[in-house]
């Protein structure tokens, strides 16, 4: 009796501990390589960690704890970096993500609707080609567009020169896409002037972004019953009215999660910005992530970089809470 009781207790204990056994490998490793660095990051964000402390880390004798100085320096633009203003970068970062999504989603929906037109010729070919930007890795796309916008040899300036011959202009065109500091449309975004480099990146990212939205929109379009349109056309609704009153509301539940996904992706779109402009000219196209990278790789102010990363984390948290709310709200909408 004694033995069976203890063995059943053992079995019960095994059953209770089993979930933790399943979690153990992942948490053991994440503890060392993910969570410990995250905590370490918070600690060094309060220090003046620089290159001379690399060897001994927190044990170096000259390492000083300087409280919130790194954070204050970042917010008050007191860092000895030219043209850096945290709130301008933040504003540009939000505008960059928002303006991308505001272009990609409508373009994706419109093109999907266009391709959904009954009786359109060569539809399969269009579909097969339009999906190509989704397939090419973004890193390669970024390098290609960097060369396309090259001032002297880039395809964009050559294309513009070819087109402008029809308007009587002869000779090459040299637009300095990535160097021109003067914003082409002054005062477009108050507080954060948008240079030509911004528009160049918008073009490149537009090429990359709308096909994905179009794929999602096509999927959603398929689930809209055709009789809705038939009923509407019997009632005398025009094509435009059908689009606004049937297509748009019924696409919304599918497009909002996609838009949120696109927003998060653009918000942290490191490769494009780093490859095409490196944040320039005069830091006008710097995103939070590219500036954080500059802090570590070029300036090597590890303490400041850690503080900056903590701030990025806070911003990401706010963005997540907002977008999560939006997604939830639309889920309820689609269920209702």
């Amino acid at each position: 009796m004694e033995i069976s009781k203890s063995s059943s207790r053992k079995a019960q204990w095994q059953k209770k501990s089993l979930p933790y056994l399943y979690l153990l490998p992942a948490f053991l490793i994440m503890g060392v390589i993910t969570f410990y660095p995250l905590i370490y990051q918070v600690i060094i964000s309060f220090t003046n960690f620089e290159t001379q402390h690399l060897l001994l880390g927190l044990k170096s004798p000259e390492l000083e704890f300087i409280g919130f100085k790194n954070y204050v320096d970042i917010f008050t633009a007191a860092l000895p970096v030219e043209n850096f203003n945290f709130f301008r970068v933040l504003e540009f970062n939000f505008w960059w993500a928002l303006s991308n999504v505001m272009l990609h989603v409508p373009a994706g929906v419109l093109i999907a609707t266009l391709l959904n037109t009954e009786g359109l010729w060569m539809k399969r070919i269009y579909r097969a080609v339009y999906i190509l930007p989704v397939v090419v890795p973004p890193l390669v796309v970024a390098t290609i567009w960097t060369n396309i916008f090259d001032e002297r040899y880039g395809a964009m300036n050559q294309l513009l020169a070819n087109i402008s011959t029809y308007f009587g202009h002869v000779g090459p065109i040299y637009i300095r896409w990535f160097e021109d500091v003067k914003p082409p449309i002054p005062g477009f975004l108050p507080g954060a002037p948008l240079t030509l480099a911004y528009y160049a990146m918008m073009m490149a990212n537009f090429w990359l972004g709308w096909p994905f939205m179009s794929v999602v929109a096509t999927g959603a379009l398929q689930s809209i019953p055709k009789d809705l349109y038939e009923a509407a056309s019997i009632d005398g609704a025009t094509g435009g009215q059908q689009f606004w009153n049937i297509t748009v509301p019924l696409l919304r539940p599918a497009m909002i999660p996609a838009a949120v996904y696109g927003f998060t992706l653009s918000f942290n779109l490191f490769n494009f910005v780093f490859f095409m402009t490196g944040g320039g000219p005069a830091r006008s196209t710097e995103l939070l992530v590219t500036f954080a990278y500059n802090l570590v790789r070029n300036l090597r102010w590890y303490g400041v970089a850690a503080a900056f990363a903590v701030i990025i984390f806070a911003v990401a948290m706010v963005v997540f809470l907002i977008t999560n709310r939006i997604t939830r709200a639309t889920q309820n909408y689609s269920e209702a």
Binding site: T34, V140, Y302
Partner: protein, 337 residues
């Protein structure tokens, strides 16, 4: 209409490519003027999509080593000399293409596999088992997902950089941070974990692992529980259910997660460019960046183009092969979406 043939396919890309568009449902046909108008618009979009692709493909097939002085979008010649040169000697350093490829594959496949293998049991526990602290631990896994990869690179750089092996004197080896050379002896650096592919792999796993746990949990949630319940009634315990029922059922989705990770890690640039300093450790993505724009004053553009095509191909092939599942995986399994 055969109902079996028109079974609804959940995947947007497949539907996008194969949807029935012959238009039997409505008698309305497209008026010619509208057809022509739409064709013009569609062709214009087609041209804009093809523009960079044709530009880079044309350049890669060119034998001209000078930079392009005028726009060419259709190959005038098919020359593989640029591909040959890139494969022979991809950079100015004495590194072969095979080594670069090996580094890229090592990182992308290695990190993908390791993250998957470690994550799968944890994902199962989160998806199916009941235990205290479940919510707390799940939030803990979610926290690193909010941090962009750049944000985690500083502490990883500092911590990995402290793991070094040094030759203090011919007889004495020091393994930091456990032992150090004597005071005043600098020693010769033999190995720095930060400056090695292994260290970069660790840094990449640090962000890939929580993502894999979260992603796989999402997948496992979509697998119906009936089979497992039946197995439990037949007397199978949790371990048996996991290995004999769940793993085989989830295998295709495990593969998809692996390939999604592969696509991401293949393009990894943030950590590799920050951590690695020796040309022998460079990856294909880093080499491509070195050949781009202002950083490549001496690199002929036809070689850059050939390299771009080579780096893009594996991802494009994987994507096309897996298109049935990828978009679905991005929108259902991923939390970052």
């Amino acid at each position: 209409m055969n109902p079996a043939k028109t079974a609804p396919n959940k995947n947007p890309i497949v539907r996008f490519l194969t949807m029935n568009t012959s238009g039997q449902t409505s008698g309305r046909s497209l008026p010619l003027w509208r057809q022509l108008l739409f064709q013009v618009v569609c062709l214009a979009i087609l041209a804009s999509v093809m523009f960079p692709i044709m530009y880079i493909v044309t350049m890669s097939f060119s034998s001209k080593t000078t930079r392009p002085s005028s726009l060419e979008l259709i190959p005038k010649e098919i020359s593989f000399i640029a591909y040959q040169q890139v494969l022979d000697r991809p950079t100015g350093n004495p590194v072969t293409f095979i080594e670069l490829l090996k580094n890229s594959i090592l990182l992308s496949v290695g990190v993908g596999l390791i993250a998957l293998l470690i994550a799968v049991t944890a994902a199962y526990a989160f998806s199916r088992l009941k235990f205290k602290l479940r919510e707390v631990l799940m939030v803990l896994v979610f926290i690193p997902l909010l941090m962009p990869a750049v944000g985690l690179s500083t502490p990883l750089y500092l911590l990995l950089n402290q793991v070094q092996i040094k030759q203090c004197s011919p007889e004495v080896l020091a393994i930091q941070p456990f032992t150090t050379c004597e005071e005043g002896v600098r020693g010769r650096l033999l190995f720095n974990l930060r400056d090695s592919l292994f260290g970069v792999g660790i840094a990449m796993t640090a962000t890939a692992l929580p993502f894999a746990v979260w992603n796989l949990k999402g997948y496992l949630d979509t697998i119906p529980k009936e089979l497992e319940e039946a197995a439990a009634i037949d007397g199978a315990d949790t371990n048996q259910t996991f290995w004999q029922i769940v793993i085989p059922l989830a295998a295709p989705q495990l593969a998809v997660t692996f390939f999604l990770g592969f696509i991401g890690h293949w393009q990894e640039f943030v950590t590799t460019w920050l951590f690695l300093s020796q040309p022998k450790d460079y990856t294909l993505a880093m080499t491509l960046y070195n050949m781009t724009g202002q950083y490549a004053n001496s690199v002929p553009w036809n070689r850059f183009a050939a390299m771009a095509v080579i780096v893009a191909l594996p991802v494009a092939v994987v994507y096309i092969a897996l298109q049935k599942r990828i978009v679905g995986g991005l929108t259902t399994g991923g939390v970052k979406g």
